[in-house]
């Protein structure tokens, strides 16, 4: 091994045709070392990891330049299977799971434990019977390490995002031959306490001698567990830091390349609201993994109402239910009128809008341009950006107006892209999230549900997103209901915060309440009432 490094990436460069994404990047990792990789959305973090992992998209778009030494040999993995073979594991930013398979099947895929049988002796390995018992045991062990309540027999497509994330992590920690593990934003959808478990597991793995490459936008996590921090900006290595000698603020400044003012949070003035805009009574939502079991609450006009809680407790189910995406029951009054449930179109028509936590599943048209993504809902539901001909018989799509609208949001939200015609699949994860927000804003909603709005968004952009939400709230009077696994974010922006536990509201607190009280509610332990 050269100078004791397990991995040496040297002067790696990559372009997607005219778009230079990485330039002469060097990255060294020793065995058992945890290296944190940080950078703004679109800085090239995932691309760098995809190169290392031999992803096909890299080869299909013309390959890369530079050399990779891994485990003492020069490598150029042409598929991810080769990378796996060599001992590299990867948890992807966008999950790579098979939706129609259960957690066990996904975790065990291609590493099935087999029992010999008669047929196999004649026809070879492929005919071995699967040893389900042993596979389930191993899966359970992997899940136990993660201390999480995940049903191994649930189909991935029925899982909430948090559980999908755990499934993907479980798959990687189960592999025995792994020498280097790449984790691309594994904590983005997790609440703090859950993220802590993942961090603990990462530490444990590194003590076993496995090297870790860890990407996250939560800088505190980087400071907590990394031995080395690498800051990437616009495809170049900007700075290498030691966690002991730096701070979150300094890292952030290297990321964005300018000084940042201290975050002002928490000291919002308590606002007063009168009218009730949304009244939910005894709402039940059958969303697998995020069941809601009879919640009642009221949201005032012009308010920002936060919903927090642990993964799988139902905080995400509320918005999904009201928007008609999962079967639900109960009464929802919007502006005093009863809202028909289980009818997405009706909810949208009435002026509700939704930014889903599942951006790849139902938030985006990945294989269509940005412009379609931004304008599609408005166009279908409100018939805007449509030119009517022959007395309304022909409803022509107004591509020019759509392009204009999209460019406006690209500017406003600072979306990093080539043009409004670029396919959304080609954007970085954080920029895809911004497209989801643009889609919702374009609807000019009266009430906006946002789930995990800052998932995978860098520090600078997170401020931007939260500021934008607040700006829409203050200037246009949009009422916002925000569900998030990040308590800090909820406290920074909300007027009141409801904590959901086991599908019910455990309590509603003002943002100024002590974090410990929120923590208790999340575990369903306290009887604290509103205004405490």
């Amino acid at each position: 091994m050269s100078e004791g490094y397990l991995l040496k990436m040297e002067s790696i460069s990559k372009d997607f045709y005219e778009n230079q994404v990485l330039q002469d990047v060097n990255l060294n990792v020793k065995a058992g070392e945890i290296v944190g990789l940080v950078g703004e959305n679109g800085a090239g973090k995932s691309t760098l990891m995809n190169i290392l992992f031999g992803e096909e998209t890299i080869h299909e778009t013309g390959g890369y330049r530079g050399t990779i030494m891994f485990d003492g040999k020069e490598r150029n993995f042409s598929t991810s299977f080769d990378a796996l073979e060599a001992g590299i594991g990867m948890v992807h930013q966008e999950f790579v799971l098979i939706p129609g398979f259960t957690a066990v099947e996904n975790i065990m895929l291609n590493r099935e434990i087999t029992k010999d049988n008669f047929v196999a002796e004649v026809f070879g390995d492929r005919m071995n019977t699967l040893d389900w018992e042993a596979m389930r045991k191993r899966t359970n062990k992997a899940i136990e390490t993660l201390e999480i309540n995940l049903n191994p027999n649930m189909l991935v497509k029925d899982m909430p995002v948090g559980h999908r994330q755990f499934t993907e992590i479980a798959r990687e920690i189960d592999r025995e031959s792994t020498k280097l593990l790449i984790l691309d934003e594994p904590t983005a959808v997790l609440a703090e306490s859950e993220a802590e478990i993942v961090l603990k597991v990462i530490k444990k793995l590194s003590q076993k001698g496995i090297a870790i490459l860890f990407i996250t936008h939560r800088l505190q996590e980087i400071l907590d567990i990394c031995d080395n921090i690498v800051v990437l900006r616009d495809g170049k290595i900007q700075k290498e830091l030691k966690p002991k000698e730096t701070s979150a603020k300094e890292i952030a400044e290297y990321m964005v390349g300018r000084e940042l003012s201290e975050q002002v949070s928490g000291d919002k003035k308590a606002r007063k609201f009168k009218e009730t805009v949304l009244k939910v009574e005894d709402l039940w939502v059958d969303m697998p993994g995020e069941q809601v079991n009879g919640v009642s609450f009221e949201v005032k006009k012009g308010e920002i109402f936060g919903i927090g809680g642990l993964t799988g407790q139902g905080k995400l189910g509320i918005a999904n239910g009201i928007m008609g995406l999962y079967p639900s029951e109960g009464t929802v009054l919007f502006n005093g009128k009863e809202l028909e449930l289980n009818n997405p179109k009706n909810a949208l028509k009435n002026g509700l809008a939704f930014v889903s936590e599942d951006r790849r599943g139902l938030g985006l048209l990945l294989d269509q341009p940005l412009s379609w993504n931004v304008a599609f809902t408005v166009m279908q539901v409100k018939e805007q950006f449509i030119q009517k001909h022959l007395g309304g018989l022909i409803k022509w799509r107004d591509d020019r107006a759509i392009a204009e609208l999209t460019r406006e949001y690209i500017d406003k939200l600072d979306i990093k892209c080539v043009s409004e015609k670029q396919f959304v699949r080609e954007l970085s994860g954080g920029n895809q999230q911004k497209v989801c927000l643009a889609k919702a804003f374009a609807q000019n909603p009266e009430l906006l549900f946002v789930s995990e709005p800052t998932r995978g968004i860098d520090v600078g952009a997170k401020r931007l997103v939260l500021d934008t939400l607040r700006q829409y709230n203050e200037e246009y009077g949009v009422t916002i209901v925000i569900s998030s696994s990040e308590l800090e974010e909820l406290r920074a922006i909300s007027d009141r915060i409801a904590i959901v536990n086991e599908g019910q509201i455990a309590g509603i607190l003002p943002p100024s309440a002590k974090p410990a009280n929120f923590g208790l509610l999340m575990l369903g332990k306290s009887e604290l009432e509103e205004g405490a």
Binding site: Y17, E56, N343, K345, L362, D367, F376, T377, Q380, R397
Partner: protein
């Protein structure tokens, strides 16, 4: 510079580039092996006109995510019913042609609706089920052609007097109504079937325009991500059925255009393998199972029919034996296999 070439090649696509070059090579060799270039060009144009609408008919179902329409035969059958009924009614010229289309559309709507209902129940396996539907509908109609009470002496078996013949001539009814409309003769060997090309142009325009409307956009979104479409309040199942009906209608019209140019209505097992050449042409044109553009239809049909016309005549003249059928099967099935394996690579 290198980047630019790379970009151009990838936008044309390697398969199209190779086939295109091969086709040009065939035209260059042709005169040396006693194959007339002008008649060859004439053949390619005529065959393009005959087949293009059938290829176009595949577009709506691909756009809505129902995949390649391996059940194209269903639309063809609707077209055949329209054609024989129009003959039975003794309608000639454009009246006969458009009556055939009108009747065919009526049946295509019914067939397409049922077919769409079926495909909605087998999401994910559309193409397999479609293949069965295509084959079994042809078998079913083989019985029906014998039983249905058509009487016209031009169509029923000469002796016995009941049951339709396998091949019925459109001569004297609406043979070449489109082909001869405004036709242009270039020299003695090339005739441009202007009417057929114009009619294809019109249908292409309709498809193109549809996908620029609100409903067309919704259909494309359903194909891209049905969950997304559902969350925007779109009735995904209904949109898919509409797309299947559209594809079936266009296939029905396509076969009637084919017949007026070819001169014969072919019943019984003739429609059995209709879907493969059409699908192969579209894939050759650069479409995939999930993505299609209008130009794929035009380029694909031209290349496919070009190869089909040129390869047999040139190769036959070289090796002096008849290989045309073999070559056709190799090309069309080869293209389909190529495209289906490519689909495996683009995972989500």
């Amino acid at each position: 510079m290198k980047k630019k070439i790379r970009g151009i090649i990838s936008s044309i696509g390697v398969p199209r580039l190779l086939i295109g070059l091969f086709l040009i090579a065939l035209f260059v060799i042709a005169p040396f092996v006693d194959v007339r270039v002008d008649t060859s060009i004439n053949d390619v144009i005529a065959r393009f006109g005959m087949n293009a609408v059938l290829v176009l008919s595949l577009v709506p179902m691909i756009k809505s995510g129902c995949g390649l329409n391996f059940g194209l035969q269903l639309g063809v059958i609707a077209g055949l019913i329209g054609a024989v009924t129009s003959l039975e009614l003794k309608l000639t010229g454009f009246a006969g042609f458009f009556a055939a289309i009108g009747i065919a559309i009526f049946f295509a709507i019914i067939f397409g609706w049922l077919y769409g209902l079926l495909l909605n129940r087998v999401k994910g396996d559309e193409m397999v089920v479609a293949t069965y539907v295509g084959f079994s509908s042809v078998s079913f109609m083989s019985i029906m052609w014998l039983i249905l009470p058509y009487k016209s002496p031009d169509m029923v078996w000469a002796y016995g007097g009941s049951g339709l013949r396998t091949t019925i001539s459109t001569e004297g009814y609406w043979f070449h109504v489109l082909n001869d409309f405004l036709k242009i003769e270039l020299g003695t060997h090339i005739t441009i079937p202007t009417g057929t090309l114009l009619f294809f142009g019109l249908l292409t325009f309709i498809i193109w325009a549809f996908f620029r409307t609100k409903s067309g956009t919704a259909m494309e979104a359903v194909g891209s991500n049905p969950e997304y479409a559902r969350s925007c309040g779109i009735n995904v199942d209904r949109v898919r059925i509409v797309s299947v009906i559209m594809s079936t209608i266009f296939a029905a019209i396509g076969i009637i255009v084919y017949e007026q140019s070819f001169g014969f209505i072919q019943l019984y097992n003739a429609p059995l393998l209709m879907s493969f050449p059409a699908i192969a042409a579209l894939l050759l044109g650069g479409a995939s199972v999930t993505k299609v553009k209008i130009w794929n239809v035009v380029v694909g049909t031209l290349l496919f029919q070009g190869i089909l016309t040129m390869t047999p005549s040139v190769i036959n003249n070289i090796i002096k034996s008849d290989m045309s059928e073999t070559i056709r099967i190799i090309i069309s099935n080869g293209m389909i296999i190529y495209a289906l394996t490519r689909r495996m690579k683009v995972r989500s």
